[in-house]
Symmetry: C2
Subunit: 352 residues, 2 copies
């Protein structure tokens, strides 16, 4: 960790998550929620109704305002940059449309060497300056209250969208591309990886205190395929930035590769609710923080039962390094007081 | 197993799958493909273009013709009834629409006790006589070439559709219903279970040689929730019919519950490609057949590589009881000769 990052870290009042990622035993579990800056918040909906998705992402003042909403309203222990994983394909030269409720559309997906050749490893300040500007603004407005999480999509997950051109249950076209053109796929993954490393370094330089890499579709791969198409690129990214900021890898569903991911140098691994905390710990080993793993649907429980379920999860986390979180993004239909109850229950829980 | 079933089984020329489910070591692995009677076959498309989904399902001659297509064209070791898991909610009194490419729609989903009360455990011959008629016709036309697999959806998976009213990535409304109204949910699951048992007994009586229960959404549940909302009903179904025909349970993604499912009396367990064969065997134990686990997207590999991948899988199956299959349904965009290559590779593979 560089001196400047260390200085920044020490100036953060609530550094629970950073200490947890260093392997320290903390007085209570840190807590945040994936997609905490999102559609369950009326204050977010108000901005969504006024501005398009990319207006919100590309206007630093709006991105900052949205990023801060859950810190102010819900009281989470970390802010996470409001942005989207598809800003990287966009910065590399692809057209990306994000249609509300329909999901992403990349009308000109990658199929050939020519398609690959027209992609560029972007100049970050030129193409993604709005992100670093947003981060600087967020850090000012946070004023050291909680750390800021920067993030990017995993190369495999980005390849899924860049080749399939849209969301999919199976991403079979993306997989077929890898199976039929393995060298081309590897080149594409490398180009995404190079871009992502530059992007994350810029995020850290601008003030991000830790980084999460989202491999949302890692769990669609067999263990062997994950080792071919995802893990090497996650490893490269982690190796390139781990000296500058701690890294959390979240490859949803890729439970079989928890031991391998634990060996990348990452300081934390995300897990969903479809693996038991004890099993995840056994697979990941003792020397890494785990993050998760509440079923987002359980936030729909009546609040007293919701609290009991959260406490049950926290009890199972034991005395190891854990960051309380959902096992996937918060759903748009979660009442705000339920989200708050989740966070409050973690904060009030006494670690034994 | 009753005498009549035994007689039927002995009259089947290719009984590889039945022997495998009895725990016998067979000269080669049996092979079939989930959704083998489906949209990758031009002969199926021809019928789809002429008849609506429910015309195909409810007309015994059409259902029989479609069921037999992959036996004749691809050479699989078992036929599986062409039907849909949603015929049960339909027979129980719900409106079910199946819109091509859009998926199922149940416009009046279950929300209250009143909704539950209007559901009936159906008279099978009255409501689902078209299924038993189709089975009798299929058995005639099969003339003992290969066994016929009957099937039903698992109660949890049917509840998902009956409460959510349509497909979903998360089935959060279905889960919320269970969390908020656990007694009502249990009553609904019991009613589905009672209907399913009658339905499967009727299928067996009409000639189905073995049964597969599909819990397509079992993997959306945590282990504890699976033990609450799915496993008890799978156990009831298996207990009720295992004396009449062998049962395969396929709860996609529910790898953590393989040990529990192995204890239900089922003779086989399906697995997807996101668990390694060795891990699945370790979890399920030695005394049960396993079925799977080829990634359906891998059928898009060039045929020489496809063959190598299939052989790699079969080598990992070792000397235990395995049924070669995909880890999920075959995709509509698979070339017919690739599907055939999958089946042929299994047939030509020499077990060590």
């Amino acid at each position: 960790m560089t001196t400047s990052t260390l200085n920044m870290a020490t100036s953060i009042k609530n550094d629970l998550i950073l200490r947890t990622l260093k392997g320290a035993s903390t007085e209570r579990f840190p807590v945040w929620m994936m997609r905490q800056a999102g559609r369950y918040l009326p204050q977010y909906i108000a901005l969504r109704n006024k501005y398009s998705f990319f207006e919100r992402v590309q206007t630093p003042e709006l991105a900052a305002e949205i990023t801060l909403q859950p810190v102010d309203i819900i009281g989470v222990d970390a802010a996470i940059l409001f942005s989207d994983i598809l800003v990287i394909p966009q910065a590399m030269g692809m057209e990306v449309q994000l249609v509300e409720k329909l999901g992403p559309l990349l009308p000109d997906p990658i199929k050939t060497t020519n398609d690959l050749d027209r992609l560029q490893v972007p100049d970050i300040e030129e193409k993604l300056g709005y992100v670093t500007s947003a981060i600087k603004l967020i850090k000012q407005e946070l004023n050291g209250r909680v750390p800021l999480i920067g993030f990017a999509g995993a190369p495999w997950t980005l390849l899924c969208y860049m080749v399939q051109g849209k969301g999919s249950k199976t991403f079979d076209e993306a997989k077929a591309f890898c199976y039929q053109h393995p060298q081309l796929a590897a080149q594409l993954l490398q180009k995404i990886t190079d871009s992502t490393i530059l992007y994350l370094k810029a995020q850290i330089k601008a003030g991000a205190d830790l980084i999460q890499v989202f491999d949302s579709w890692g769990g669609l791969l067999s263990k062997t395929d994950f080792e071919t198409w995802s893990l090497p690129y996650l490893s490269q990214i982690t190796a390139a930035i781990q000296q500058e900021a701690p890294v959390i890898l979240f490859a949803k569903g890729a439970w079989q590769s928890l031991p391998d991911m634990a060996n990348t140098g990452a300081r934390g691994l995300g897990i969903d609710w479809c693996i038991e905390p004890e099993t995840a710990r056994k697979l990941a080993g003792k020397d890494i923080a785990l993050q998760g793993n509440f079923d987002p649907s359980k936030l729909l429980l009546p609040i007293p039962e919701l609290k009991k379920e959260v406490e049950r999860m926290l009890t199972r986390f034991g005395t190891d390094c854990w960051i309380a979180n959902l096992g996937h993004g918060i759903l748009p239909n979660i009442p705000v007081d339920h989200a708050r109850a989740f966070v409050e229950t973690v904060k009030n829980f006494e670690r034994k």
